[in-house]
């Protein structure tokens, strides 16, 4: 490693200076795929602030392993991950295991951008407590996606969807929720659609949802293990309607893995189940580095940088703060979204309620129940 774990001053707690004494190296671990959106922002900051950050290294991992790794480093007293970009799952797991340095409210004043969060992003920020800083945000889903050529009259409600599935066994597909964003969004969106008693309590409050899924299960032949596969099946015709989200709608069409003509629909009375990515700093990171990171985050939360989050619809829309119109985004983004974007999203986002996703514990419980009662039910037959 280029620098010793623990960093240049060796101090990992106490007050964080305004600026690092000399340029530091920052090791960033991305467990949410967030670099797709933010690497441009970070690189730009580094190129402009060579006095603070000499070099950034990026590594990537999946969320679940993150905890083990950080824990191992912290137990040994040598932390060499300085900044983690994570989704809700990694964030929550880290909070649960007390891995993260509390940045708030101590340094809230250094991150003025946080005051400009979109309402949905602000709600997501609450999930992060004192630990994470929301860097990107999107309302996600649930949406349904289909090829208009094959589905003449798409379902308009949850009941319609069930009827469609009944009429076309095997045609409705959603990926196993624990392996798929759209899958879990669909799962978390259903209680709102069906009017369950407590949409935040999958074990006791989702009676209608489970009944609905069990019924739907009779006509689902297959729960793929990745969202990509549902997309592929949609494209090659072996599935007719799949669960989706805004990002999964636009980006795969840009990439060409789903036909451009694919359409999305919503089910009547749905609530958006939002999603966000967070920046967190593990405990044990040198204060000099913390200083550089705080300055980096401050920069990332400015509109000019946030506009980069439009990307090619990867996390559509993407920016976490207000007043970042598409016109500020890089030319490439504007072009891709001009061709593949859907103007109707703006309206849909504005006119439907936003809900924060389940917290980590509840989500795991929901996955478990789904695995046992829905996905696993096939075996017991």
């Amino acid at each position: 490693a280029p620098d010793k774990p623990g960093g240049s001053s060796g101090k990992t707690d106490g007050p964080v200076p305004d600026k690092p004494g000399k340029a530091v190296t920052i090791n960033i671990l991305d467990v949410a795929g967030d670099l797709q959106l933010t690497q441009g922002m970070i690189d730009e900051f580094v190129s402009k602030n060579g006095d603070q950050i000499a070099k950034v290294t990026y590594s990537k991992a999946t969320a679940p392993e993150l905890v083990g790794k950080v824990k191992a480093q912290q137990n040994a007293g040598r932390v060499d991950i300085d900044l983690v970009l994570t989704g809700v799952d990694g964030l929550a797991a880290g909070i649960d295991q007390s891995l993260w340095t509390p940045l708030l409210p101590t340094y809230a004043s250094r991150l003025p951008g946080m005051n400009d969060y979109l309402p949905g992003a602000a709600a997501m920020q609450k999930l992060a407590g004192d630990f994470g800083v929301t860097v990107t945000y999107y309302p996600s889903g649930p949406l349904i996606e289909y090829l208009p050529a094959k589905v003449a009259s798409p379902p308009k409600s949850a009941a319609d969807l069930l009827a469609f599935a009944k009429a076309n066994p095997g045609a409705v597909q959603y990926a196993r929720p624990s392996n798929s964003g759209p899958g879990r969004t669909f799962l978390m969106g259903l209680p709102y659609l069906l009017g369950d008693s407590d949409p935040k309590d999958p074990v006791n409050g989702w009676a209608k949802t489970w009944a609905y899924l069990a019924e739907l299960n009779k006509y689902v032949t297959l729960y793929p293990s990745t969202t990509s596969e549902t997309m592929k099946n949609l494209a090659n015709g072996s599935a007719k309607i799949i669960a989706s989200t805004t990002g999964w709608d636009i980006n795969p069409r840009v990439l060409g893995t789903v036909p451009k003509e694919a359409a999305v629909g919503t089910l009547q009375g749905f609530h958006w189940v939002t999603d966000a990515h967070y920046a967190v700093v593990p405990k044990g990171v040198d204060v000099e580095k913390q200083a550089a990171i705080l300055n980096l985050l401050k920069d990332m939360l400015t509109p000019a940088q946030q506009a980069k989050a439009y990307d090619k619809g990867y996390f559509y829309p993407g920016p976490a703060i207000k007043d970042v119109p598409l016109s500020m985004a890089p030319q490439e983004s504007q072009q891709a979204l001009g061709e593949y974007g859907r103007p109707e999203y703006e309206q849909l986002i504005a006119s439907n309620p936003l809900e924060v996703p389940l917290d980590a514990k509840a989500l795991v419980a929901a996955f478990d129940k789904w695995d046992r009662e829905i996905g696993g039910a096939k075996v017991k037959k």
Binding site: A1, P2, P5, N27, V31, A32, G33, D34, Q36, T57, Y58, S59, K60, A61, T62, A63, E65, G68, K69, K71, A72, Q73, N75, A76, G77, R78, D80, G87, D89, N179, G181, T226, T227, S228, E229, M231, K232, A235, N236, G237, G247, W248, N251, P252, L255, G256, T257, P259, Y314
Partner: protein, 277 residues
């Protein structure tokens, strides 16, 4: 030399099965290869058009050249060390009957049997504590845990096959133990060592958990990138997974072919015993 050309029914069945296996294999490999170069492949035999963009993307996103170098360094080191440490141990286990031998064999068996979850995190902690993790030495050390026993397990039957009189003869010629190993046993065991090395190599290159837990930013291996592409959150085109998989496979293939170039796994010992025809 006349050979009997009429093959027995047994041979037909065997070669038929081999052919079928090859066809399936070719299908599997080519479908991924085609997909990794394809753009828009929907309900058709072949994609609409071809592109190299998935490779370009993987290249940029993961700084692959550095990752490849690290992967090769790590796997070579692991193979080397585990053979150096494992073969002598398997020698003793194969040749000697001593009290506690079975127990020891069991102990060597355990690391292969136990999933890395059981020991991965504490192991990483230990390695971090002594400054080994976060760089290449940690990755190598962690990967030795399943590799050494693997070598021991595969090599023991091999060594049992070698006539002990040959070693005695070497000793009578004045060879010390290490010379017996280097000059006599090693060449005779080449097929076995090679087989074991290839398998260790494959396992090391493919070992995700232990590598991830102990790798630092500069010591990531290809499999970490591959797993990320495959199972991390976020949108991924199927094709970019395919492209990563193809890169991974090509690298392994190069390693394998290089290995087989230098030594043919079946001929060294066999040459001595086979006829020349």
């Amino acid at each position: 030399m006349r050979r009997r050309l009429v093959a027995s029914p047994g041979a037909w069945v065997v070669w038929g099965a081999v052919t079928f296996f090859f066809v399936m294999l070719a299908g599997v490999i080519f479908s991924v290869l085609v997909s990794s170069f394809g753009r828009r492949w929907f309900d058709t035999w072949l994609p609409e058009s071809w592109t190299g963009q998935w490779y370009g993307q993987a290249w940029r996103e993961f700084t692959l050249p550095a990752v490849l170098v690290v992967t090769i360094e790590v796997s070579m080191l692991v193979v080397l060390i585990s053979v150096l440490v494992g073969v002598p141990a398997s020698y003793v286990l194969a040749r000697k009957k001593f009290p506690g031998r079975r127990l020891l064999y069991l102990l060597f068996l355990l690391p292969i049997l136990m999933p890395p979850i059981t020991y991965g995190i504490p192991l990483a902690t230990v390695l971090y504590k002594y400054g080994f993790a976060g760089n290449m030495s940690g990755v190598v050390l962690a990967n030795l845990v399943p590799s050494i026993p693997f070598v021991i397990l595969t090599m023991t039957p091999f060594i049992e096959q070698v006539d002990p009189a040959i070693e005695r003869a070497a000793r009578m010629c004045g060879a010390r133990t290490w010379q017996v190993f280097a000059r006599i046993l090693a060449p005779l065991l080449v097929p076995g060592i090679l087989a074991a090395s290839i398998l260790v190599l494959v396992r090391t290159v493919g070992m995700f958990e232990l590598t991830f837990l102990t790798a630092g930013p500069d010591s990531q291996t290809l499999v970490v990138a591959l797993y990320y592409t495959m199972s991390a959150a976020g949108i991924r085109a199927q094709q970019s997974v395919d492209a990563m998989a193809v890169i991974y496979t090509s690298m392994m293939l190069v390693l394998l072919v290089v290995a087989l170039r230098f030594v043919n796994p079946t001929q060294l010992v066999a040459r001595v015993k086979e006829d020349v025809d």
